[in-house]
């Protein structure tokens, strides 16, 4: 399938999202679509897949002008869109998820489970994955859920598959597998649109790249004819300094000391200490237990045994309130589910953990809160029209900054950040790194869980590697290499 989108315009109310975008897709190519959050990538793809209708412009498919009534019609014409927020029914099994809305049944509506299983087996074989069909999808890892989505797309005989940040939550092994599958698909003539912020991947797998900025196409190039720096520059519209800011660590006293933290079946005998002004990176494969350790440390989940000492005092953390009281702050990996109240304004979200300081007597001093929110918005460069904007309307990077703003206000001693830059564009990432530097300069200790090795190595002063619920090793910044971390993370040495 060959697609030509010409001079596309789209506005939502006053908000002009696309202003004259050109995009083309050849049969059997992998086409990277890049741009900062809010550049209009998702809107463009939503138009292509029939969810939205363009205000102006034409879409030609195999040289015939086409417009889809709705996403169903687009799907029938061979378009599939695998979104960042996966379409998974967590209480249903893998098999049920694969066939949702497309169940095979006899004329009386009785499901043909055997046939569905056979069909699913076939698809899993092409994808080279194995997942028990009876497993509840909610119990699968994010990586596995992603594979379910891809399998679903393949079952619709899609000729164009759009993937939005497909690797954000995948382990390296799963990414490799995904790339193999993608290559295989292109050989069969399937075209792929690959939306990602991960430059390495784009250069590894894509044929062409289109960069968007502020609702316009900046450029389309063959991957072979461009390079990392050029792409980044086009994306942000200015020269970008290094990906990671310069970092000078001055670790102080030990602020958090964890001994023998254990939760059966998830992690065992976890020891580590964090000093003031230090960034400790926590690396490991997905499902190794990194997030679980942090959740237990913060009191979201209960530990079976272990000892937590903060500034030399033994503390008991049984619920998040305890953790906050003892000076911990937690930026979770899923900001929409656990980080933000999406119906609240930016101001109200920032205010939430800080209510005590705005409402010492219980009455919220709105003026103080507005001032504080506006100061945070300025300091963290949150792009929002005002502090009263509903947070759900902001881009991912800006939402993440608000989550951080929430916690900075509580003046934490230890800030736990789980995947702090997931799904965020290069420019915003750098801003978040700079913020981390600023925080550690003020003596805050940061624990950063991340699946992105460059980030771990670029920002951490010390790296803990978790493997199957245990700390497999500790590396200093100077001695850390990707290879060493991966070796520890996979159980080697």
């Amino acid at each position: 399938m060959q697609i030509e989108m010409h001079n596309i315009y789209k506005a939502f109310g006053q908000n002009k999202v696309l202003e004259g975008v050109h995009f083309s897709l050849e049969a059997g190519e992998i086409h990277a679509l890049m741009g900062e959050n809010g550049a209009g990538k998702s809107t463009l793809m939503n138009i292509l897949t029939g969810l939205h209708k363009q205000d102006q412009g034409t879409i030609k498919i195999n040289s015939t002008e086409t417009s889809f009534k709705d996403s169903k019609e687009a799907e029938e014409s061979g378009m599939a869109f695998i979104r960042q927020e996966l379409n998974i029914w967590p209480e249903m099994t893998v098999l049920e998820n694969l066939f949702i809305g497309r169940e095979m049944s006899n004329p009386f509506g009785v499901l043909k489970n055997k046939q569905m299983k056979a069909c699913a087996k076939e698809i899993f074989k092409t994808l080279n994955i194995s997942l028990p069909f009876d497993k509840e999808a909610g119990l699968c890892s994010v990586g596995e859920q992603q594979m379910i989505e891809i399998a679903k797309a393949l079952m619709t005989d899609a000729e164009v598959i759009i993937m939005d940040e497909p690797t954000a939550a995948l382990t390296d092994r799963e990414i490799e597998k995904l790339f193999e599958v993608m290559k295989g698909l292109t050989n069969k003539g399937v075209s792929l649109v690959y939306i990602s912020h991960r430059m390495e991947e784009i250069f590894a797998i894509c044929d062409r790249i289109t960069v968007m900025r502020d609702g316009k196409t900046v450029d389309t190039k063959r991957i072979a004819d461009t390079n990392f720096d050029e792409v980044v520059q086009k994306m942000v519209g200015r020269e970008l300094e290094d990906r990671f800011p310069h970092r000078e660590a001055n670790p102080g006293d030990i602020v958090l000391d964890v001994k023998g933290l254990t939760k059966k079946g998830l992690f065992e005998d976890i020891h580590f200490a964090v000093r003031q002004g230090e960034i400790v990176g926590v690396a490991g494969l997905m499902g190794a237990g990194r997030t679980e350790i942090m959740r237990a440390l913060f009191g979201v989940d209960q530990i079976d045994s272990g000892e937590i000492t903060i500034e030399g005092k033994k503390v008991s953390i049984r619920k998040p309130t305890d953790a906050v009281r003892h000076g911990l702050a937690f930026i979770t990996e899923n900001r929409k589910e656990e980080g933000l109240i999406l119906d609240f304004s930016v101001r109200e979200n920032i205010g939430l953990p800080n209510l005590k300081s705005f409402a010492p007597s219980g009455i919220v001093k709105t003026e103080d809160e507005i001032n504080f929110a506006e100061m945070m918005i300025k300091r963290l460069h949150v792009k929002t029209s005002s502090a009263e904007t509903i947070i759900g309307n902001l881009s991912g990077g800006n939402q993440q900054k608000v989550v951080i703003a929430k916690w900075i206000g509580t003046s934490p001693k230890v800030l736990i950040m789980d995947e702090p830059t997931r799904g965020i564009d290069v420019g915003a990432k750098r801003e978040i790194y700079e913020l981390m530097n600023e925080l550690t300069e003020r003596g805050i200790a940061v624990i950063m869980v991340s699946s992105e090795l460059p980030e771990i190595m670029g920002m951490s002063d010390r790296i803990l590697v978790v493997h199957e619920g245990e700390i497999a090793g500790e590396l200093l910044k100077q001695e850390a290499t990707q290879e060493k971390i991966m070796a520890l993370a996979t159980g080697g040495n």
Partner: protein
């Protein structure tokens, strides 16, 4: 993306119910001008006050995504206990205060079962609704409690006037302003919305979700007991079957006022308007001589239409 703020609620959520109320006023007045007579309006306010008090408490609960079916039974039980205390010679004012405190405790029990017991509010309050009603029947032996004395202060509560306004209506207005302030100006109110909007994120933000919930259910119990005191005074007795199905009128008022049953969205002013819509319907249809059987049909239909409009316009 620079999307403009849409606000907590659309135009319909804000002004739709109010518009419907005004329309209702006009229609009924055209059909029967005596509706607008001051006496009838005061009467209307007195009639709505009990539902209003219960619905105000219910608003907080529904904003957290919960529900309380037991408010009618709390009203009955606290009313019976108040009357019992008065019959046994306790000072009426003290009896009322103790009765309200007991209502608060019943609400707190609901709250503890919901938050600490991690049970669905619907189930918990369905059970306590039955339990509290049963206790009322046990305590009253199924018979009304009468002979609760002639304290003027107590009689004022349900039947008196203050500056020309019925006392129950005055209580309603005062309660509205206090609770409005609590919901929209205090950290407690903010936490109420936060829990309804995203309970997990609220917990991780360090909000004592359980404690807030217990307080909210306690508040609902308190409001039901205050309504109970007014009803007891008005009837000059405690009825074992008092307050039956009052929870439904309260929920209907909250929903009519544009508060979302899934929590996180809604306003107390909306509930006030919702209460007045239901009260106006009742009062107006009585004036127009509509059979009470049809009145129920109309009330149900109005709720459906309101929610339908809410869906379409938002």
């Amino acid at each position: 993306m620079k999307l403009e703020a849409t606000g907590k609620s659309g135009i319909w959520q804000k002004f739709g119910p109010l518009l419907a109320l005004v329309l209702l006023f006009i229609v009924i007045t055209v059909l029967n001008p005596s509706f607008m007579e001051p006496n009838n309006i005061l009467n209307l306010l007195r009639q709505t006050s009990i539902n209003a008090l219960i619905a105000f408490g219910m608003t907080f609960i529904i904003l957290t995504g919960g529900i309380d079916l037991s408010v009618g039974s709390i009203l009955a039980l606290s009313s019976a206990l108040m009357a019992g205390m008065m019959v046994s010679g306790l000072d009426p004012i003290l009896a009322i205060l103790v009765g309200i405190l007991l209502g608060a405790i019943m609400g707190v029990i609901n709250g503890i079962l919901v938050s600490k017991g991690k049970m669905a509010p619907f189930i918990v309050t369905l059970a306590t609704m039955t339990i509290f009603r049963g206790l009322t029947l046990v305590y009253t032996d199924g018979k009304p409690i009468t002979g609760i004395g002639d304290s003027e202060m107590f009689q004022m509560l349900g039947r008196g006037y203050f500056l020309g306004l019925p006392v129950p209506a005055v209580v309603m207005v005062i309660a509205f302003f206090i609770l409005w302030f609590l919901l929209h100006k205090t950290s407690f109110g903010r936490k109420t919305y936060a829990i309804g909007g995203n309970e997990r994120a609220s917990r991780i933000s360090g909000i004592k979700v359980d404690r807030v919930k217990v307080a909210i259910y306690g508040l609902a119990g308190t409001m039901a007991a205050i309504a109970g005191a007014i009803l007891t005074s008005r009837l000059n007795s405690a009825q074992p079957t008092a307050g039956q199905s009052y929870e439904m009128d309260a929920i209907a008022a909250v929903v009519l006022g544009g508060t979302s049953l899934s929590g996180g969205k809604g306003r107390l002013f909306g509930t006030l308007v919702g209460v007045l819509i239901i009260g106006t319907l009742n009062n107006g249809m009585n004036l127009l001589g509509v059979s009470s059987f049809y009145q129920q049909v109309v009330k149900g239909a109005v709720i459906l239409i309101a929610v339908l409009l809410d869906r379409k316009k938002s």
